[in-house]
Symmetry: C2
Subunit: 189 residues, 2 copies
DNA sequence: TGCATTTGCCTAAGAGTTTTAGGCAAACTA
DNA sequence: TAGTTTGCCTAAAACTCTTAGGCAAATGCA
């Protein structure tokens, strides 16, 4: 029988592409097998089960996103760094809606702790150094930024901001302005 | 054959409870039938299909949430109104994680336009009247608030903020302080 | 009250996804 | 070149979703 050359790696990559095409929810072991022209059972040598596949796609997306962010942020500081970071996030969600949804998958604590999610948090902390926040406030700010970027991408992906003015692009820019302003004038406890 | 007294209403309610117990993703026509001690096919007289069921649960949650918010906001203004509104959202996500997830379901545009989601937006606009923002900025602010609340509840539900200090409760309060401050000092275009 | 209609839940059945177990041949390895 | 590993296969069971058609309980009407 002709060997197709499956591997966990290739399955995850193809799964990510599939997610972008049909939505992360619709990613299925069967569909993936179909795309490789292979029987479903064959995938189970490379992936534990359906949940495992999805988790791997999520981890892949988080990694990819962290790499892009790190590149974008390098050599920048302050608002420049903030917008670069935020735009990577949003651009990624536009270019790869399925992977972005995957990156929002609920991971169990250990998996999450070992994921590139921690790099994201570290980068945000690095960006916040340009704003000079005292320690406990820094964590609050990281959470605010994470929530906002995450939430915006999610709502925008769900079509929440289409069909009304101002267009989403402009709101996004304005929101980044507002967040920058907020970080520069963070209220005292 | 004993009639159980199914109805779309009861199915949706039970579906919402099921979602809170096992997660919105795990809500299934089969499981719901099992809970009613009824054959699966019987549900199809009351609900078009699985997607229809989920959409109805989402609409139900949005409605419930809008009712709670309206109550909470009534008679309040400014920061008072803002925190009341935001807390309803977060408390709801804690008490009913499945319904909260349902409320984040992607709806098609017409369904969304007819949903209680528009009441949410209107309430946010009403709250913003206390902050005196010029018109285009108001929309930006609504989107910022929506994204942040949405994102925070989502990340918190995914366990993103557990196991690190300050605890999530405190960050939430501080974030509301910060957003209030931001709205009072909204940067000019 | 008796009859017709509607309605609620049923059985049957087909299609799709997930997962496990065991087999055969191709590809490495010595 | 023989032995081992590995990759993909077939088979089969369990589950979910969905449609079609049937019977009996509930309801409405004379």
């Amino acid at each position: 029988m002709a060997r197709v050359g499956l591997s966990t790696e290739r399955l995850v990559r193809a799964g990510a592409e599939l997610a972008d095409e049909v939505g992360f929810e619709q990613v299925t072991v069967s569909e993936l097998a179909r795309r490789f022209g292979v029987k479903v059972a064959s995938l189970y040598s490379h992936v534990k089960n359906s949940q495992d596949l999805k988790t791997r796609i999520a981890l892949f997306a988080l990694e990819e996103l962290a790499d892009l962010s790190a590149d974008a942020v390098a050599g920048r500081a302050g608002k420049d760094a903030l917008t670069a970071f935020a735009n990577v996030y949003r651009d990624y969600a536009h270019a790869h809606p399925g992977r972005a949804a995957a990156a929002r998958l609920r991971l169990d604590p250990e998996t999450a702790a070992a994921s590139a999610g921690v790099r994201h948090a570290q980068m945000m902390r690095a960006i916040l150094r340009g704003y000079d926040l005292p320690e406990p406030d820094q964590t609050d700010a990281v959470r605010l930024l994470g929530s906002t970027f995450h939430g915006y991408a999610s709502l925008e992906g769900a079509g929440g901001f289409s069909h009304s003015s101002p267009d989403s692009e402009e709101s996004w820019t304005r929101i980044l302005d507002a967040l920058d302003s907020l970080l520069r004038n963070w209220p005292a406890r």
